[in-house]
Symmetry: C2
Subunit: 297 residues, 2 copies
Protein backbone atom coordinates (compact mmCIF):
# COMPACT_ATOMS: atom_id res chain seq x y z
CA UNK A 1 0.00 0.00 0.00
CA UNK A 2 1.31 3.41 -0.97
CA UNK A 3 -0.02 6.07 1.44
CA UNK A 4 0.33 9.53 0.01
CA UNK A 5 -1.30 11.39 2.93
CA UNK A 6 -3.71 10.67 5.80
CA UNK A 7 -7.12 12.30 6.29
CA UNK A 8 -8.64 12.46 9.79
CA UNK A 9 -12.10 13.48 11.01
CA UNK A 10 -11.88 13.76 14.80
CA UNK A 11 -15.10 14.83 16.51
CA UNK A 12 -16.53 14.67 20.00
CA UNK A 13 -17.64 11.06 19.81
CA UNK A 14 -15.65 9.47 16.98
CA UNK A 15 -12.26 9.26 15.32
CA UNK A 16 -12.09 8.32 11.63
CA UNK A 17 -8.98 8.06 9.47
CA UNK A 18 -8.35 7.36 5.79
CA UNK A 19 -5.13 6.44 3.98
CA UNK A 20 -5.18 8.50 0.79
CA UNK A 21 -3.51 8.56 -2.62
CA UNK A 22 -4.39 11.99 -3.99
CA UNK A 23 -8.19 12.06 -3.79
CA UNK A 24 -8.57 8.27 -3.66
CA UNK A 25 -9.16 6.31 -0.45
CA UNK A 26 -6.86 3.28 -0.15
CA UNK A 27 -7.74 2.28 3.42
CA UNK A 28 -9.94 3.45 6.27
CA UNK A 29 -10.31 2.85 9.99
CA UNK A 30 -12.32 4.24 12.89
CA UNK A 31 -12.65 4.06 16.64
CA UNK A 32 -14.69 5.51 19.50
CA UNK A 33 -11.71 7.59 20.67
CA UNK A 34 -13.53 10.89 20.13
CA UNK A 35 -12.47 14.06 21.93
CA UNK A 36 -14.77 13.30 24.87
CA UNK A 37 -12.57 10.25 25.58
CA UNK A 38 -9.14 11.54 24.60
CA UNK A 39 -9.29 15.16 25.85
CA UNK A 40 -6.36 15.71 28.19
CA UNK A 41 -4.99 12.31 27.20
CA UNK A 42 -2.67 10.88 24.61
CA UNK A 43 -4.02 12.00 21.26
CA UNK A 44 -1.15 10.57 19.26
CA UNK A 45 -1.55 7.10 20.79
CA UNK A 46 -5.27 7.03 19.93
CA UNK A 47 -4.43 7.99 16.37
CA UNK A 48 -1.47 5.63 15.93
CA UNK A 49 -3.66 2.72 17.00
CA UNK A 50 -5.56 3.31 13.75
CA UNK A 51 -2.96 4.52 11.25
CA UNK A 52 0.30 2.78 12.17
CA UNK A 53 -0.14 0.00 9.59
CA UNK A 54 -0.41 2.61 6.82
CA UNK A 55 2.77 4.59 7.54
CA UNK A 56 5.48 4.47 4.86
CA UNK A 57 9.18 4.97 5.62
CA UNK A 58 9.20 8.65 4.64
CA UNK A 59 7.13 11.17 6.68
CA UNK A 60 3.55 11.75 5.42
CA UNK A 61 1.15 14.66 5.86
CA UNK A 62 -1.81 14.07 8.15
CA UNK A 63 -4.67 16.59 7.93
CA UNK A 64 -7.34 16.56 10.65
CA UNK A 65 -10.55 18.52 11.19
CA UNK A 66 -13.12 18.71 13.99
CA UNK A 67 -13.05 19.18 17.75
CA UNK A 68 -9.41 17.99 17.75
CA UNK A 69 -8.58 21.68 17.14
CA UNK A 70 -10.35 22.93 20.29
CA UNK A 71 -8.46 24.51 23.18
CA UNK A 72 -8.44 21.15 24.97
CA UNK A 73 -7.52 19.33 21.76
CA UNK A 74 -4.34 18.03 20.18
CA UNK A 75 -3.33 21.53 19.13
CA UNK A 76 -5.47 24.67 19.35
CA UNK A 77 -6.40 25.88 15.87
CA UNK A 78 -7.94 29.32 16.57
CA UNK A 79 -11.26 30.12 14.88
CA UNK A 80 -11.39 32.32 11.77
CA UNK A 81 -14.17 34.92 11.73
CA UNK A 82 -16.98 34.94 9.15
CA UNK A 83 -17.59 36.25 6.57
CA UNK A 84 -14.74 34.31 4.98
CA UNK A 85 -14.00 31.35 2.77
CA UNK A 86 -14.54 28.11 4.70
CA UNK A 87 -10.79 27.56 5.24
CA UNK A 88 -9.21 31.01 4.90
CA UNK A 89 -5.94 30.20 6.68
CA UNK A 90 -3.50 27.29 6.67
CA UNK A 91 -4.05 24.38 9.04
CA UNK A 92 -2.03 24.52 12.29
CA UNK A 93 0.98 22.21 12.63
CA UNK A 94 0.88 19.88 15.63
CA UNK A 95 4.27 20.16 17.41
CA UNK A 96 6.35 17.24 18.65
CA UNK A 97 4.67 14.36 16.80
CA UNK A 98 6.10 11.00 15.85
CA UNK A 99 8.61 11.68 13.04
CA UNK A 100 6.67 9.56 10.58
CA UNK A 101 3.82 12.12 10.41
CA UNK A 102 3.60 15.85 9.79
CA UNK A 103 0.20 16.56 11.39
CA UNK A 104 -2.01 19.62 10.82
CA UNK A 105 -5.40 20.65 12.18
CA UNK A 106 -7.92 22.76 10.20
CA UNK A 107 -9.16 25.90 12.07
CA UNK A 108 -12.88 26.28 12.76
CA UNK A 109 -15.07 29.30 12.08
CA UNK A 110 -16.60 31.76 14.54
CA UNK A 111 -19.32 34.39 14.32
CA UNK A 112 -19.34 37.24 16.83
CA UNK A 113 -23.02 38.27 16.72
CA UNK A 114 -24.95 36.15 17.36
CA UNK A 115 -22.13 34.18 19.02
CA UNK A 116 -21.58 30.90 17.20
CA UNK A 117 -18.80 28.45 16.39
CA UNK A 118 -18.11 25.43 14.17
CA UNK A 119 -15.28 22.90 13.96
CA UNK A 120 -15.32 20.32 11.19
CA UNK A 121 -18.26 21.64 9.22
CA UNK A 122 -16.03 24.32 7.59
CA UNK A 123 -14.08 21.45 6.00
CA UNK A 124 -17.27 19.82 4.69
CA UNK A 125 -18.42 23.16 3.29
CA UNK A 126 -15.04 23.64 1.58
CA UNK A 127 -15.34 20.15 0.13
CA UNK A 128 -18.87 20.80 -1.09
CA UNK A 129 -17.89 24.10 -2.74
CA UNK A 130 -14.69 22.77 -4.38
CA UNK A 131 -16.47 21.35 -7.46
CA UNK A 132 -19.16 24.12 -7.30
CA UNK A 133 -17.18 27.39 -7.11
CA UNK A 134 -20.17 29.56 -8.11
CA UNK A 135 -22.76 27.91 -5.85
CA UNK A 136 -24.84 30.38 -3.79
CA UNK A 137 -27.42 29.24 -1.28
CA UNK A 138 -27.83 27.65 2.13
CA UNK A 139 -26.15 24.50 3.43
CA UNK A 140 -27.70 22.47 6.26
CA UNK A 141 -25.30 20.14 8.11
CA UNK A 142 -27.46 17.99 10.42
CA UNK A 143 -25.89 16.31 13.45
CA UNK A 144 -25.57 16.60 17.23
CA UNK A 145 -25.35 20.36 16.71
CA UNK A 146 -26.97 21.07 13.35
CA UNK A 147 -25.49 23.99 11.40
CA UNK A 148 -27.13 26.21 8.78
CA UNK A 149 -24.63 28.21 6.71
CA UNK A 150 -25.40 30.96 4.22
CA UNK A 151 -23.01 30.81 1.24
CA UNK A 152 -22.33 33.56 -1.28
CA UNK A 153 -19.43 34.08 -3.70
CA UNK A 154 -17.46 31.23 -2.13
CA UNK A 155 -17.74 32.64 1.39
CA UNK A 156 -19.62 31.60 4.53
CA UNK A 157 -21.58 34.82 5.18
CA UNK A 158 -23.24 33.73 8.44
CA UNK A 159 -24.31 30.58 10.24
CA UNK A 160 -26.54 29.31 13.06
CA UNK A 161 -26.24 26.22 15.22
CA UNK A 162 -29.22 24.31 16.67
CA UNK A 163 -28.90 21.76 19.49
CA UNK A 164 -31.58 19.62 17.85
CA UNK A 165 -29.60 16.37 17.66
CA UNK A 166 -28.38 16.59 21.24
CA UNK A 167 -31.92 17.38 22.47
CA UNK A 168 -33.23 14.34 20.59
CA UNK A 169 -30.64 12.02 22.17
CA UNK A 170 -31.19 13.40 25.70
CA UNK A 171 -34.98 13.18 25.43
CA UNK A 172 -34.96 9.72 23.84
CA UNK A 173 -32.38 8.22 26.18
CA UNK A 174 -32.59 10.06 29.49
CA UNK A 175 -35.97 11.75 29.93
CA UNK A 176 -39.33 10.30 30.94
CA UNK A 177 -39.92 9.77 27.19
CA UNK A 178 -37.42 6.88 27.19
CA UNK A 179 -40.31 4.68 28.38
CA UNK A 180 -42.47 5.68 25.39
CA UNK A 181 -40.02 5.68 22.46
CA UNK A 182 -38.23 2.82 20.68
CA UNK A 183 -36.09 2.57 17.53
CA UNK A 184 -39.03 2.41 15.13
CA UNK A 185 -40.24 5.03 12.67
CA UNK A 186 -43.51 6.16 11.09
CA UNK A 187 -43.20 8.49 8.12
CA UNK A 188 -46.70 10.02 8.36
CA UNK A 189 -46.31 10.78 12.06
CA UNK A 190 -42.98 12.46 11.34
CA UNK A 191 -44.49 14.66 8.63
CA UNK A 192 -47.48 15.60 10.81
CA UNK A 193 -45.21 16.54 13.70
CA UNK A 194 -42.99 18.68 11.45
CA UNK A 195 -46.03 20.60 10.20
CA UNK A 196 -47.39 20.90 13.74
CA UNK A 197 -44.13 22.30 15.13
CA UNK A 198 -43.67 24.65 12.17
CA UNK A 199 -47.04 26.25 12.85
CA UNK A 200 -46.75 26.28 16.67
CA UNK A 201 -43.05 26.02 17.55
CA UNK A 202 -43.57 27.51 21.03
CA UNK A 203 -45.61 24.44 22.06
CA UNK A 204 -42.54 22.19 22.03
CA UNK A 205 -42.24 21.45 25.78
CA UNK A 206 -45.97 20.66 25.98
CA UNK A 207 -45.98 18.51 22.82
CA UNK A 208 -43.05 16.54 24.25
CA UNK A 209 -44.96 15.63 27.42
CA UNK A 210 -47.92 14.84 25.18
CA UNK A 211 -45.88 11.93 23.75
CA UNK A 212 -45.70 10.42 27.25
CA UNK A 213 -49.37 11.06 27.97
CA UNK A 214 -50.46 9.56 24.63
CA UNK A 215 -48.60 6.39 25.58
CA UNK A 216 -50.15 6.20 29.07
CA UNK A 217 -53.70 7.01 27.95
CA UNK A 218 -53.97 5.70 24.39
CA UNK A 219 -51.10 3.20 24.13
CA UNK A 220 -49.53 5.22 21.28
CA UNK A 221 -46.96 3.09 19.45
CA UNK A 222 -43.33 3.71 20.39
CA UNK A 223 -42.37 3.99 16.70
CA UNK A 224 -44.95 6.75 16.23
CA UNK A 225 -43.59 8.47 19.34
CA UNK A 226 -40.02 8.39 18.04
CA UNK A 227 -41.02 9.80 14.65
CA UNK A 228 -43.10 12.50 16.37
CA UNK A 229 -40.23 13.38 18.73
CA UNK A 230 -37.90 13.81 15.76
CA UNK A 231 -40.53 15.73 13.79
CA UNK A 232 -41.31 18.12 16.66
CA UNK A 233 -37.64 19.00 17.15
CA UNK A 234 -36.82 19.32 13.44
CA UNK A 235 -40.05 21.24 12.79
CA UNK A 236 -39.15 23.76 15.49
CA UNK A 237 -35.69 24.08 13.96
CA UNK A 238 -37.19 24.69 10.50
CA UNK A 239 -39.48 27.36 11.97
CA UNK A 240 -36.46 29.15 13.43
CA UNK A 241 -34.25 28.71 10.36
CA UNK A 242 -36.97 29.65 7.86
CA UNK A 243 -35.34 33.03 7.09
CA UNK A 244 -32.28 31.00 6.09
CA UNK A 245 -33.87 28.43 3.81
CA UNK A 246 -37.06 29.98 2.42
CA UNK A 247 -36.72 30.48 -1.34
CA UNK A 248 -33.01 29.54 -1.27
CA UNK A 249 -31.03 26.92 -3.13
CA UNK A 250 -30.50 24.22 -0.49
CA UNK A 251 -27.93 21.51 0.13
CA UNK A 252 -27.77 19.02 2.99
CA UNK A 253 -24.41 17.52 3.96
CA UNK A 254 -24.78 14.61 6.35
CA UNK A 255 -25.09 10.91 6.91
CA UNK A 256 -27.60 9.16 4.66
CA UNK A 257 -30.27 8.57 7.33
CA UNK A 258 -30.30 11.99 8.95
CA UNK A 259 -29.97 13.83 5.63
CA UNK A 260 -32.99 11.93 4.38
CA UNK A 261 -35.06 12.96 7.40
CA UNK A 262 -34.18 16.66 6.93
CA UNK A 263 -34.75 16.43 3.17
CA UNK A 264 -38.22 14.96 3.76
CA UNK A 265 -39.10 17.80 6.12
CA UNK A 266 -37.78 20.52 3.81
CA UNK A 267 -39.39 19.08 0.66
CA UNK A 268 -42.68 18.97 2.56
CA UNK A 269 -42.29 22.75 2.93
CA UNK A 270 -41.58 23.23 -0.76
CA UNK A 271 -37.79 23.41 -0.44
CA UNK A 272 -35.58 22.25 -3.32
CA UNK A 273 -32.91 20.12 -1.75
CA UNK A 274 -29.70 18.48 -2.90
CA UNK A 275 -28.17 15.93 -0.51
CA UNK A 276 -24.43 15.33 -0.38
CA UNK A 277 -22.53 12.56 1.38
CA UNK A 278 -20.71 13.88 4.44
CA UNK A 279 -17.64 11.66 4.04
CA UNK A 280 -17.10 12.72 0.44
CA UNK A 281 -17.36 16.37 1.46
CA UNK A 282 -14.96 15.88 4.38
CA UNK A 283 -12.31 14.15 2.27
CA UNK A 284 -12.53 16.74 -0.51
CA UNK A 285 -12.25 19.51 2.09
CA UNK A 286 -9.25 17.91 3.78
CA UNK A 287 -7.55 17.56 0.38
CA UNK A 288 -8.06 21.31 -0.11
CA UNK A 289 -6.70 22.02 3.36
CA UNK A 290 -3.63 19.92 2.54
CA UNK A 291 -2.95 22.18 -0.47
CA UNK A 292 -2.92 25.16 1.92
CA UNK A 293 -0.33 23.49 4.19
CA UNK A 294 1.96 22.89 1.22
CA UNK A 295 1.66 26.50 0.05
CA UNK A 296 2.82 27.76 3.42
CA UNK A 297 5.29 24.99 4.30
Amino acid sequence: MNTDWIAVDWGTSHLRAWAMQGSAVVAEAQSQDGMSKTAGGDFQAALMALIEPWLPAAPVDLIACGMVGARQGWVEAPYNAVPSTPIPSAPIRVPGTDRRIRAFVVPGLKQTIPADVMRGEETQIAGFLAPRPHWDGVICLPGTHTKWAQISAGEVISFRTFMTGELFELLRGQSVLRHSVDDGWDEDSFSEAVADALSKPEQLAARLFGLRAADLLHGQSKAVARARLSGLLIGAELAASRPYWLGQQLAIIGSEGLSGVYATALKQQGGMVETVDATTATLTGLLQARTLTRQTA
Copy 2:
Protein backbone atom coordinates in the same frame (compact mmCIF):
# COMPACT_ATOMS: atom_id res chain seq x y z
CA MET B 1 -46.81 11.58 70.28
CA ASN B 2 -50.39 11.03 69.25
CA THR B 3 -50.58 10.32 65.51
CA ASP B 4 -54.09 10.78 64.16
CA TRP B 5 -53.25 9.97 60.52
CA ILE B 6 -50.26 9.97 58.18
CA ALA B 7 -49.84 12.11 55.05
CA VAL B 8 -47.52 10.95 52.26
CA ASP B 9 -46.26 12.71 49.11
CA TRP B 10 -44.55 10.03 46.98
CA GLY B 11 -43.17 11.29 43.68
CA THR B 12 -40.64 10.10 41.14
CA SER B 13 -37.58 11.31 43.05
CA HIS B 14 -38.69 11.75 46.66
CA LEU B 15 -40.75 10.27 49.49
CA ARG B 16 -42.07 12.60 52.18
CA ALA B 17 -44.25 11.70 55.14
CA TRP B 18 -45.92 13.66 57.91
CA ALA B 19 -47.47 12.49 61.19
CA MET B 20 -50.69 14.49 61.53
CA GLN B 21 -53.19 15.45 64.22
CA GLY B 22 -56.13 16.81 62.24
CA SER B 23 -54.58 19.53 60.10
CA ALA B 24 -51.51 19.98 62.31
CA VAL B 25 -48.11 18.43 61.56
CA VAL B 26 -46.59 16.71 64.60
CA ALA B 27 -43.60 15.10 62.88
CA GLU B 28 -42.11 14.81 59.40
CA ALA B 29 -39.53 12.69 57.60
CA GLN B 30 -38.26 12.22 54.06
CA SER B 31 -36.00 10.02 51.98
CA GLN B 32 -34.76 9.62 48.40
CA ASP B 33 -36.89 6.47 47.96
CA GLY B 34 -38.92 7.98 45.13
CA MET B 35 -40.75 5.83 42.59
CA SER B 36 -37.72 5.69 40.32
CA LYS B 37 -35.94 3.74 43.09
CA THR B 38 -38.79 1.72 44.56
CA ALA B 39 -40.78 0.80 41.41
CA GLY B 40 -41.11 -2.97 41.33
CA GLY B 41 -39.64 -3.15 44.81
CA ASP B 42 -40.85 -3.14 48.38
CA PHE B 43 -42.95 0.00 48.77
CA GLN B 44 -44.06 -0.75 52.28
CA ALA B 45 -40.47 -1.24 53.53
CA ALA B 46 -39.40 2.13 52.10
CA LEU B 47 -42.36 3.76 53.83
CA MET B 48 -42.00 1.94 57.17
CA ALA B 49 -38.36 3.11 57.37
CA LEU B 50 -39.78 6.62 57.74
CA ILE B 51 -43.06 6.21 59.66
CA GLU B 52 -42.57 3.25 62.00
CA PRO B 53 -41.67 5.45 65.02
CA TRP B 54 -44.97 7.30 64.65
CA LEU B 55 -47.32 4.32 64.63
CA PRO B 56 -49.74 4.03 67.55
CA ALA B 57 -51.21 0.73 68.77
CA ALA B 58 -54.49 1.13 66.87
CA PRO B 59 -54.46 1.19 63.03
CA VAL B 60 -54.15 4.67 61.47
CA ASP B 61 -55.15 6.02 58.06
CA LEU B 62 -52.32 6.78 55.65
CA ILE B 63 -53.17 8.92 52.62
CA ALA B 64 -50.64 9.16 49.78
CA CYS B 65 -50.55 11.11 46.52
CA GLY B 66 -48.19 11.20 43.54
CA MET B 67 -46.59 8.66 41.23
CA VAL B 68 -47.13 5.99 43.89
CA GLY B 69 -50.56 5.55 42.24
CA ALA B 70 -49.13 4.75 38.79
CA ARG B 71 -49.55 1.33 37.16
CA GLN B 72 -46.07 0.34 38.41
CA GLY B 73 -46.76 1.87 41.83
CA TRP B 74 -47.90 0.58 45.21
CA VAL B 75 -51.48 0.31 44.00
CA GLU B 76 -52.88 1.56 40.69
CA ALA B 77 -55.25 4.46 41.30
CA PRO B 78 -56.86 4.95 37.86
CA TYR B 79 -57.05 8.50 36.52
CA ASN B 80 -60.28 10.49 36.69
CA ALA B 81 -61.14 12.46 33.55
CA VAL B 82 -61.42 16.26 33.47
CA PRO B 83 -63.51 18.34 33.68
CA SER B 84 -64.04 17.34 37.30
CA THR B 85 -63.28 18.42 40.84
CA PRO B 86 -59.61 17.77 41.65
CA ILE B 87 -60.41 14.63 43.67
CA PRO B 88 -63.81 13.42 42.41
CA SER B 89 -63.55 9.86 43.70
CA ALA B 90 -62.36 8.19 46.89
CA PRO B 91 -58.69 7.24 47.21
CA ILE B 92 -57.88 3.60 46.44
CA ARG B 93 -57.16 1.25 49.33
CA VAL B 94 -53.77 -0.50 49.19
CA PRO B 95 -54.39 -4.23 49.80
CA GLY B 96 -52.36 -6.42 52.15
CA THR B 97 -50.53 -3.79 54.15
CA ASP B 98 -49.07 -4.03 57.64
CA ARG B 99 -52.06 -4.12 60.02
CA ARG B 100 -51.01 -0.92 61.73
CA ILE B 101 -51.89 1.17 58.66
CA ARG B 102 -54.94 1.54 56.42
CA ALA B 103 -53.26 2.98 53.32
CA PHE B 104 -54.97 4.84 50.46
CA VAL B 105 -53.69 6.44 47.26
CA VAL B 106 -55.31 9.49 45.64
CA PRO B 107 -56.20 9.01 41.92
CA GLY B 108 -54.62 11.35 39.36
CA LEU B 109 -56.39 13.27 36.59
CA LYS B 110 -56.33 12.66 32.84
CA GLN B 111 -57.35 14.68 29.80
CA THR B 112 -58.15 12.89 26.55
CA ILE B 113 -57.52 15.67 24.01
CA PRO B 114 -54.83 16.82 24.06
CA ALA B 115 -53.59 13.75 25.92
CA ASP B 116 -52.30 14.73 29.35
CA VAL B 117 -51.99 13.31 32.87
CA MET B 118 -51.18 14.43 36.40
CA ARG B 119 -50.50 12.59 39.67
CA GLY B 120 -50.00 14.58 42.85
CA GLU B 121 -50.88 18.02 41.50
CA GLU B 122 -54.61 17.23 41.79
CA THR B 123 -54.10 16.98 45.55
CA GLN B 124 -52.31 20.34 45.67
CA ILE B 125 -55.10 21.92 43.63
CA ALA B 126 -57.71 20.46 46.01
CA GLY B 127 -55.73 21.86 48.93
CA PHE B 128 -55.46 25.28 47.32
CA LEU B 129 -59.19 25.42 46.55
CA ALA B 130 -60.35 24.16 49.98
CA PRO B 131 -60.19 27.61 51.65
CA ARG B 132 -61.14 29.36 48.33
CA PRO B 133 -64.27 27.55 47.11
CA HIS B 134 -65.24 30.31 44.67
CA TRP B 135 -61.76 30.89 43.16
CA ASP B 136 -61.69 30.95 39.35
CA GLY B 137 -58.49 31.32 37.38
CA VAL B 138 -55.35 29.48 36.37
CA ILE B 139 -52.96 27.57 38.62
CA CYS B 140 -49.33 27.01 37.61
CA LEU B 141 -47.55 24.13 39.38
CA PRO B 142 -43.85 24.40 38.43
CA GLY B 143 -41.62 21.34 38.71
CA THR B 144 -39.97 18.62 36.64
CA HIS B 145 -43.16 18.54 34.57
CA THR B 146 -44.81 21.92 35.07
CA LYS B 147 -48.63 21.90 34.98
CA TRP B 148 -51.02 24.71 34.07
CA ALA B 149 -54.61 24.06 35.21
CA GLN B 150 -57.69 26.08 34.35
CA ILE B 151 -60.11 26.24 37.31
CA SER B 152 -63.76 27.22 37.23
CA ALA B 153 -66.60 26.58 39.71
CA GLY B 154 -64.40 24.26 41.75
CA GLU B 155 -63.48 22.07 38.76
CA VAL B 156 -60.32 21.48 36.78
CA ILE B 157 -61.59 22.36 33.29
CA SER B 158 -58.40 21.54 31.38
CA PHE B 159 -54.65 21.35 31.91
CA ARG B 160 -51.33 21.29 30.05
CA THR B 161 -47.99 19.82 31.05
CA PHE B 162 -44.61 21.23 29.97
CA MET B 163 -41.32 19.30 30.28
CA THR B 164 -39.53 22.54 31.16
CA GLY B 165 -37.97 21.39 34.45
CA GLU B 166 -36.74 18.11 32.99
CA LEU B 167 -35.28 19.90 29.94
CA PHE B 168 -33.47 22.32 32.28
CA GLU B 169 -31.92 19.48 34.30
CA LEU B 170 -30.89 17.50 31.19
CA LEU B 171 -29.35 20.53 29.49
CA ARG B 172 -27.61 21.77 32.63
CA GLY B 173 -26.25 18.41 33.70
CA GLN B 174 -25.83 16.28 30.59
CA SER B 175 -25.54 18.42 27.46
CA VAL B 176 -22.56 20.37 26.09
CA LEU B 177 -23.90 23.30 28.16
CA ARG B 178 -22.72 21.62 31.37
CA HIS B 179 -19.29 23.14 30.66
CA SER B 180 -20.76 26.66 30.47
CA VAL B 181 -23.28 26.75 33.35
CA ASP B 182 -22.76 26.74 37.13
CA ASP B 183 -25.07 27.21 40.15
CA GLY B 184 -25.05 31.01 40.01
CA TRP B 185 -27.85 33.37 38.97
CA ASP B 186 -28.25 36.76 37.36
CA GLU B 187 -31.69 38.34 37.61
CA ASP B 188 -31.33 40.74 34.66
CA SER B 189 -30.10 37.96 32.34
CA PHE B 190 -33.07 35.81 33.38
CA SER B 191 -35.55 38.60 32.61
CA GLU B 192 -33.94 39.37 29.24
CA ALA B 193 -34.01 35.69 28.25
CA VAL B 194 -37.68 35.36 29.24
CA ALA B 195 -38.58 38.36 27.07
CA ASP B 196 -36.40 37.06 24.24
CA ALA B 197 -38.02 33.60 24.28
CA LEU B 198 -41.53 35.04 24.58
CA SER B 199 -41.04 37.05 21.40
CA LYS B 200 -39.14 34.33 19.46
CA PRO B 201 -39.97 30.98 21.09
CA GLU B 202 -39.05 29.00 17.95
CA GLN B 203 -35.39 30.03 18.34
CA LEU B 204 -34.93 27.86 21.44
CA ALA B 205 -32.51 25.25 20.06
CA ALA B 206 -30.35 27.98 18.50
CA ARG B 207 -30.39 30.20 21.62
CA LEU B 208 -29.31 27.15 23.66
CA PHE B 209 -26.21 26.58 21.54
CA GLY B 210 -25.62 30.34 21.73
CA LEU B 211 -24.99 29.91 25.47
CA ARG B 212 -22.08 27.59 24.66
CA ALA B 213 -20.72 29.83 21.91
CA ALA B 214 -20.92 32.95 24.14
CA ASP B 215 -18.77 31.10 26.69
CA LEU B 216 -16.19 29.99 24.10
CA LEU B 217 -15.97 33.35 22.31
CA HIS B 218 -16.77 35.98 24.95
CA GLY B 219 -16.14 34.15 28.24
CA GLN B 220 -19.78 34.69 29.29
CA SER B 221 -20.19 34.10 33.04
CA LYS B 222 -21.58 30.73 34.03
CA ALA B 223 -24.11 32.39 36.34
CA VAL B 224 -25.42 34.47 33.43
CA ALA B 225 -25.62 31.30 31.33
CA ARG B 226 -27.66 29.45 33.99
CA ALA B 227 -30.09 32.35 34.36
CA ARG B 228 -30.41 32.61 30.57
CA LEU B 229 -30.96 28.86 30.22
CA SER B 230 -33.77 29.02 32.77
CA GLY B 231 -35.20 32.18 31.20
CA LEU B 232 -35.19 30.74 27.66
CA LEU B 233 -37.05 27.59 28.76
CA ILE B 234 -39.56 29.39 30.99
CA GLY B 235 -40.08 32.13 28.39
CA ALA B 236 -40.89 29.52 25.74
CA GLU B 237 -43.33 27.89 28.19
CA LEU B 238 -45.01 31.25 28.88
CA ALA B 239 -45.32 31.86 25.13
CA ALA B 240 -47.10 28.52 24.75
CA SER B 241 -49.26 28.88 27.86
CA ARG B 242 -50.21 32.50 27.16
CA PRO B 243 -53.80 31.58 26.23
CA TYR B 244 -54.00 30.06 29.70
CA TRP B 245 -52.65 32.92 31.80
CA LEU B 246 -53.28 36.13 29.87
CA GLY B 247 -55.77 38.30 31.76
CA GLN B 248 -56.52 35.53 34.26
CA GLN B 249 -56.31 35.39 38.02
CA LEU B 250 -53.10 33.43 38.64
CA ALA B 251 -51.74 31.27 41.44
CA ILE B 252 -48.43 29.42 41.61
CA ILE B 253 -48.14 26.35 43.82
CA GLY B 254 -44.54 25.25 44.27
CA SER B 255 -41.32 25.37 46.23
CA GLU B 256 -40.22 28.84 47.27
CA GLY B 257 -37.31 29.13 44.82
CA LEU B 258 -39.00 27.87 41.67
CA SER B 259 -42.27 29.69 42.43
CA GLY B 260 -40.29 32.91 42.77
CA VAL B 261 -38.67 32.41 39.38
CA TYR B 262 -42.03 31.81 37.66
CA ALA B 263 -43.62 34.72 39.56
CA THR B 264 -40.83 37.05 38.37
CA ALA B 265 -41.36 35.99 34.78
CA LEU B 266 -45.16 36.34 34.94
CA LYS B 267 -45.10 39.71 36.75
CA GLN B 268 -42.71 40.95 34.06
CA GLN B 269 -45.51 40.18 31.57
CA GLY B 270 -48.08 42.04 33.66
CA GLY B 271 -49.56 38.96 35.32
CA MET B 272 -51.10 39.25 38.81
CA VAL B 273 -49.73 36.32 40.74
CA GLU B 274 -50.36 34.76 44.13
CA THR B 275 -47.79 32.21 45.32
CA VAL B 276 -48.76 29.34 47.59
CA ASP B 277 -46.51 26.94 49.47
CA ALA B 278 -46.61 23.46 47.91
CA THR B 279 -46.38 21.54 51.18
CA THR B 280 -49.29 23.44 52.73
CA ALA B 281 -51.39 22.74 49.62
CA THR B 282 -50.44 19.05 49.62
CA LEU B 283 -51.30 18.52 53.30
CA THR B 284 -54.61 20.37 52.98
CA GLY B 285 -55.45 18.28 49.90
CA LEU B 286 -54.54 15.02 51.60
CA LEU B 287 -56.74 15.99 54.56
CA GLN B 288 -59.62 16.47 52.09
CA ALA B 289 -58.85 13.12 50.48
CA ARG B 290 -58.97 11.47 53.90
CA THR B 291 -62.49 12.78 54.40
CA LEU B 292 -63.48 11.01 51.15
CA THR B 293 -62.06 7.69 52.37
CA ARG B 294 -64.10 7.94 55.57
CA GLN B 295 -67.31 8.72 53.68
CA THR B 296 -66.93 5.56 51.62
CA ALA B 297 -65.36 3.32 54.27
